[in-house]
């Protein structure tokens, strides 16, 4: 069966360090992978999109990599700040499908 897995344990990190989150998938042929941020009591907010033929994408302090051989995406927050504390969700759009499927999210807590 198709699965999207993110580390369910919270990631505690010191301010200024780089946070690295993992999104692994099985039995998918994703065309696109997206990352969202969700704050408590709010809806997810889109951050970055990466296509299957792209290895890396950057936006300000955020970097996403996509390895279709490993079936994995890594999401990096460099120079992390307490304001980066949130839950981060990865989502995949299958090449043959038209719906975006989400992982369970990883909570990040950046301590000052």
């Amino acid at each position: 069966s198709q699965k999207i897995e993110q580390n369910s344990e919270a990631l505690n990190i010191q301010e200024g360090k780089t946070a690295t989150l993992t999104c692994n998938y099985t039995n998918y042929s994703p065309a696109y992978l997206q990352w969202y941020r969700q704050d408590p009591g709010r809806g997810p907010v889109f951050l970055l999109l990466i296509r299957e033929n792209e290895k890396e994408k950057r936006k300000e302090r955020l970097k996403v990599t996509f390895d279709t051989t490993l079936k994995q995406s890594l999401f990096h927050i460099t120079a992390s700040q307490p304001a980066d504390s949130a839950t981060y969700l990865c989502a995949l759009l299958a090449a043959a499908g038209n719906k975006l499927t989400f992982g369970g999210g990883t909570r990040v807590l950046v301590k000052p």
Binding site: A31, Y32, Q34, Y36, G41, R42, G43, P44, V45, F46, L49, T87, L89, L93, G97, N98, K99, L100, T101, F102, G104, G105
Partner: protein
Amino acid sequence: DTAVSQTPKYLVTQMGNDKSIKCEQNLGHDTMYWYKQDSKKFLKIMFSYNNKELIINETVPNRFSPKSPDKAHLNLHINSLELGDSAVYFCASSQFRSSYNSPLHFGNGTRLTVT
């Protein structure tokens, strides 16, 4: 200037009741969605409409019925509410049908509690 707005934000009701959640987007998007987020925080798609046409209908009980009067609105009606329906329901929209180059824009959710 809310892009995707849904009402109510909180909904507490008893088992067996019928309730509706409303959603409106002012982004001019063609496609709208309903997602359910359970207590484990998994977001699962329920329905999707493109220009008022139902294009995704996941395996949800037929007590759930979406209605799209126009492409800016997508409402969710739930009949005979059950305890297991308690969750946060998110409305979302995207510019294009398959989200290829058009990420989802979410509302802030409706927390439904069935007692």
